[in-house]
Each structure stands twice: as C-alpha cells, then as structure tokens.
C-alpha cells in the first residue's frame, strides 16, 4: 500500500486536481481550454525531457530555458533575413544542441560542476539572444508551412500535441528500453561503478546535457511557430516550470529517480494548476508561490539524485 502511494500518489493527486477543476473552474473542460492546456504542456514537457535526461546523469542544466530563447531568436533572425525556414529551424535546433554539447564539455572535460557551468552558459545565451535581436522581437508574416508546426490542426487537434506525444514515445523508449538509457542512469546512480563496468561515463554525461540542449532547440521551433515571433527571454518562464515538472515527476513511477513519464505527468499537473488558478480568479503571484512549494516539497520527498547533483561541488 505504501509502495502504491509512493509510486502513484502524485499522479492520483493530479487526477484529483483534474476532477476538482472540472467541477469548480468554469470553462476548464471546454475543448478550447483543454487543447490550450495540452499545448502549454507540449512546450514545457519537451524542454523538461531534456532537463530530465541531464538530471538522470546527475547533472543539473540551468541553461535550458535561456538556450531555448537563444535558439528561438536564431530561428526568428534567419527567417526574418529571408533564409528558407527549414534551414532556419535546423540552425535553431543546432544552436540548442551546440549549447548542450558546450555544457557537456565544460562539465566532463574542464570539470566545472554543472551547477556553475550551466549558470555561466545560461548568462552567455541570454546575452547572445539580446545581441542578435538588439533587444526587440522578431515578428513577421512568416511562411505558412513553418507556422503550421505551431498552429496547425489535424481535425481539431493541434499538431503540436501530436508531435509531443510522438516525442514522448521516443524519449520514453530511449530512457527505459535502450542500453544508452540504462548507461545514463547507471552514470547518475554511481559514476565509479558505471565507469568500472566499462561505461563511458563522460560520454554519458555529455549525451545527457546535449539532449537537454536539443530539447531547448526543438521547443524553440514550436514556440516561434506558435507565436510567430521570437524574443530574448521568451522561454524564461519555462526555467522554473521545467525544473518543477521534473522534480514533481521524481515523486512518481520510479520514486526518487528522474524519469520521463513522471516529467510528463509533472508538466500536466503544473500546467493544469496554473490554468486552473487563472480560471478560478487567483492573483498572478499565487502561481509563483505554488511553483516554489512544488519544487521544495518534491525534493524533500524524493531527494537523492538531485541532492547528489547539486552538492557535487
């Protein structure tokens, strides 16, 4: 019984939240609102998947949100400069991936703890984003095929939700059903044991942080296509939300371990909560307070990996 609560307790609480909002929050169950929630979940969960992979290897990535903003302005800049949109998107995704690889290099080769190195790259990414835009946003009437990625629908279902489910399936299989997935986990659980078992732990950490950067790049593509604008700091709010989704995810399914399914459900709960608070007429600042509480309580409940990552200084 205790084990069931440990494993599914948070997910059940999420279900209870859904029922509560369905009853008490006007419009929560409207199709438009539910799709809106799922769209927000899409951005948040793809970003948080990346953070989760880094955390699985016991490394923190505090740069993913700023990397996402930087990737977004790269895409916006190139499209505004009449570069073909697929090229712009590729360059944006490559920007995120490169940022992640840079984090990996700093952590595994220069041995700068990830808490510090990603804080540094976060600041660099932020500065570069402002440099590229000159402080303003790129907006425009962009190619319809590009905008379809963020706004298109199949029937009444936004395509971005379908993309997200496909990405969820891929990263779920990658993290739980492949050798790479177990190697990332073993590296995070006991680096020395993994190394002695023949696992290239530097490569594992590199891949974990690179996936985090890749998630930032992919999210940037969807964000820009959805908003048809690109501004520095546009993904700033996703920083704490993404961390909170991952940490909340650590309280379910495989307790105390960062896991993809947990992150996805964590993202669902956090977006539902934000959305519900707005619908219930709560003040805007309540969301930040809730987020802080979620982060602290999640770690208090499920600790180990995160504490190891944060205190590896």
């Amino acid at each position: 019984m205790k084990k069931l609560i440990e494993t599914y307790g948070t997910a059940l609480a999420g279900l209870a939240l859904f029922v509560f909002l369905a009853i008490f929050a006007n419009n929560f169950l409207s199709t438009a609102n539910l799709f809106n929630v799922l769209k927000q979940v899409s951005f948040l969960s793809i970003l948080a998947f990346g953070f989760t992979f880094a955390l699985i290897t016991s490394e923190l990535d505090l740069a993913f949100a700023n990397l996402c903003s930087l990737s977004a302005v790269v895409i916006g800049f190139l499209i505004s400069s009449d570069v073909a949109w697929p090229v712009a998107v590729a360059a944006g995704i490559a920007t995120g991936l490169f940022g992640g690889l840079l984090n990996g290099f700093l952590v595994t080769v220069l041995k700068v703890p990830s808490l510090i190195s990603t804080l540094g790259t976060a600041s660099i990414a932020n500065g570069l984003a402002f440099m590229i835009t000159g402080g303003v946003a790129f907006v425009g009437r962009w190619d319809q095929n590009f905008l379809y990625l963020g706004r298109g629908k199949i029937g009444s279902v936004p395509v971005i939700i379908l993309f997200t489910l496909a990405i969820l399936a891929v990263v779920l299989v990658l993290s739980t059903q492949t050798r790479l997935g177990v190697h990332l986990q073993a590296t995070g659980e006991n680096e020395e044991a993994a190394r002695r078992s023949g696992i290239d732990t530097r490569k594992a950490k590199m891949i974990g942080l690179a996936l985090s950067g890749l998630g930032a790049g992919v999210t940037a593509m969807f964000l820009v296509a959805n908003l048809s604008s690109a501004a520095p700091q546009m993904a700033g709010d996703f920083m704490l939300n993404g961390i909170a989704a991952t940490l909340l995810g650590m309280t379910m399914f495989t307790p105390a371990k960062p896991n993809i399914l947990g992150t996805f459900v964590g993202a669902l709960i956090i977006v539902m909560l934000s959305n519900g608070l707005v619908l219930l007429g709560a003040q805007y600042y309540i969301q930040d307070i809730m987020l802080g509480i979620i982060i602290i309580v999640s770690v208090a409940v499920s600790a180990s990996v995160l504490k190891r990552a944060a205190f590896a200084l």
Binding site: V173, Q177, T178, R179, G181, V182, H183, Q185, A186, E189, N190, E192, A193, A194, R195, R196, S197, G198, I199, D200, A256, K257, S304
Partner: protein
C-alpha cells in the same frame, strides 16, 4: 600451468609517495594466486593497475604472452580480467539484474530497434546468483535492500557475466560473517574448478591459507616473497608478512 598474467618491474608513484617499487609477479593459469601484505604494502595500487583504474609509471604487464597497456578499466575487462573491488562498485538504487548486466546489457531486436531484453537478463541473473546465493530470487530487488554478503554475490555475479578468464577479488570477505565468508571461499574454489584464474587480495590469512595455490607477499612496494600454497598455515603467512623474510617458520 602456463603463466597467465605476468607483471615486470611495475613502478607507481603518487607525488612523493612510492607506492610500487618494482613488482614482478607471475600468475599461473587456472590457479588461485593470493596477494598479501600489510597495510601500505602496495596491494591496492597493484590491483588498480591490473584493473586499469591506474596506470603504472614504469614496467610492463603481459597477458597470455603479449604485452598489454590498460588505459581504462574497460581495456582490462576486454583483456579478460574482471576486478571486484572492495567497495563492490554497485549502484545501490538499481536492481540486482541491472547491476549484474551493467555496461553489458542484453538486447533483442524489436521492429529493427535494439531494445533491452529485460526478461533474458532477469533469467540469466537468477542463474548467476544461484551459483553463489540461491536464496535470492527477486532480480528486481534493489541492491540497497541486500545484506553485505548478498551485495558481494551481486558483484561476483557481474564478474561471471563478463566471461572473464581471470577474476580479481579485492578483500572479498572483509565485511562478511563466518557463513558468508565460507560461501565466498566456495565460490573462489568453484571459479578455479571452472578453469578461471583467480587473484585474491586478502588480509584474512586463514582464507588465503585455505584456498591459495601460490602467494606473493608485498612489502614496501615490492614482492618480497613468493610462495607455493598447500601446506601453509595462517600463522606461517603472518610470520612472513611481519618478518619480510622467506625463512620457513617453525
């Protein structure tokens, strides 16, 4: 028996500390070769070098007549040498079967994708564990739920899984009770019976006297005395380690 692993004049310094000052040991194939010595004699450093964890400053390692260079633990493993370190190096939060197959997971083809074959790993893990500790049957149990002896069993199972022909055991009985020690010594004997070469590092002279075919005693970074096992007692061995001379003790 032919020589399986030979070290020639291995030197290793840590800053100003000379940990090894010319260790030359011949380990014969299919034998249990014990490495003994007091604290600080260089046993751990010597094992780390054979395991590829540390690299020697000078000297040569020869496996099956060929000089080798172990620049990583993986290089040592692929040369057929599996090392079980004293700290076991298990991941406590992972399951028994995940620990046994760490780094060498079994896969199967699913729609063209190479995915983990968890049922096969669980089955094989039961087989490995049964040789050592048949009481453990739930391969999904986390290692941190096991006793010290059971963890040792997991670590040894991992070495068996590597199909190594040489197994190095670093103080395998240090944290174990009497019954579990006997189980581990039985395993050492069964490793030998299955044709494997075993290098055993131990403080427990009784254990060494009970199983070793050959014994090298390290003293201040050198192998001072090389002995054949068989009729040695624990007291004999303690005398050699303390006196540092090869004179027979009566």
């Amino acid at each position: 028996m032919p020589v399986k692993i030979s070290t020639r004049n291995i030197f290793k310094n840590y800053g100003a500390v000379e940990a090894l000052k010319g260790v030359s040991v011949d380990v014969h194939e299919g034998e249990i070769h014990a490495i003994c010595g007091d604290n600080g004699a260089g046993k751990s450093t010597f094992i780390k070098i054979l395991a590829g964890v540390e690299q020697p400053d000078r000297g040569e390692i020869v496996v099956d007549g060929k000089p080798v260079h172990f620049d990583s633990p993986h290089a040592s493993l692929t040369a057929g040498i599996a090392t079980i370190h004293q700290d076991l190096a298990v991941a406590p939060e992972m399951t028994i079967y995940q620990n046994i197959f760490m780094g060498a997971e079994l896969t199967r083809n699913v729609l063209g994708l190479r995915l983990l074959d968890k049922p096969a790993m669980r089955r094989a893990a039961v087989g490995y564990m049964a040789q050592l500790n048949p009481s453990i049957t739930d391969m999904n149990a986390k290692v941190n739920e096991l006793s010290g002896g059971q963890r040792q069993a997991v670590a040894i199972s991992r070495a068996l899984r590597w199909n190594a022909d040489t197994v190095i055991l670093d103080e395998p009985t240090a944290a174990l009770g009497v019954r579990e020690t006997e189980q581990v010594l039985d395993l050492v004997r069964s490793l030998k019976a299955s044709g494997k070469t075993v290098i055993l590092i131990s403080h427990a002279m009784q254990d060494v006297a009970a199983v070793a075919d050959r014994i090298s005693i390290l003293r201040t970074g050198k192998n001072q005395i090389d002995l054949e096992g068989g009729d040695l007692t624990a007291d004999n061995l303690s005398h050699y380690i303390l006196s540092g001379t090869g004179d027979r003790f009566h």
